[in-house]
Amino acid sequence: MQGIPYEHGLILASILFAIGLVGVLTRRNIVFLLMSLEIMLNACGLAFIVASARWEQADGQVMFLMILTLAAAEVAVGLGLIIQLYRRYHTVDIDRLSEMKG
């Protein structure tokens, strides 16, 4: 069977990460921002899985599980914040939320 060059997996992870980065930098809707963060976290997980497959060790998959847990906790807290923000300001525009100045 023909093998997969493992840098191709890492290249896929970097492309997904860059797309997520563009999303974080360009969007102003806070829900889109959270979705772009998810894309970036997922790309990191993909890089760990590629490394795990390359060296045939399960450690990379364990790290992926940790990233999954982190993403779940982050999304729960982030979405709770979004609901509270929407209740108070009736907007999802992050530029309108500049009142929080320390």
Partner: protein, 160 residues
């Protein structure tokens, strides 16, 4: 398996691109689910079936359902779609897009130097579980505490 990897990778990249250029938030979410499922197929083709199953269940299932519920609660209609379209002007994304592309090219430059083929061998549930409940048992406990903290915080924040 090789064909599966490249096919699923292409689907993941295209659908992720669709996520960040969408103006309708529900369509973006559906594209994101497609992207996550494609990444799950990539995991499977790399010989990580346990991670693939978790990606489909936890990411594409649980986390995306959370997003869907919040979007339904926010009830964003036509107005927000027009607003999104006005925000997505070229002058808003050309500079960040160029910067991210430069970073990507640098990363690819580093990655293309090395060249080793490998045939993916399956690292199954048994090996992962043996590690999880062996050397990484403290990390598993800490992850459960993190999830508990997330639960309490989300309950407190979203309360009226």
């Amino acid at each position: 398996m090789t064909l599966l990897f490249y096919l699923a990778g292409a689907v993941a990249v295209i659908s992720t691109l669709c996520v960040i250029v969408q103006t309708n938030i529900v369509h973006a979410l559906i594209y994101l689910i497609l992207s996550l499922l494609a990444v799950a197929v990539v995991f499977f083709s790399l010989g990580a079936p346990f991670a693939a199953v978790l990606e489909a269940i936890v990411y594409a299932g649980a986390i995306m359902v959370l997003f869907l519920f919040v979007i339904m609660m926010l009830n964003l209609g036509q107005h927000s779609r027009d607003q999104e379209r006005s925000w997505l002007q070229a002058r808003g994304w050309i500079l960040p897009g160029t910067l991210a592309a430069v970073l990507l090219v640098q990363l690819l430059n580093v990655l293309l130097v090395i060249d080793h083929d490998f045939v993916p061998t399956e690292v199954g549930v048994l090996e992962v579980s043996a590690l999880l409940f062996g050397p990484y048992v403290l990390a598993v406990e800490l992850a459960s505490i993190l999830l508990l903290a997330g639960l309490v915080a989300a309950y407190h924040l979203a309360k009226k």
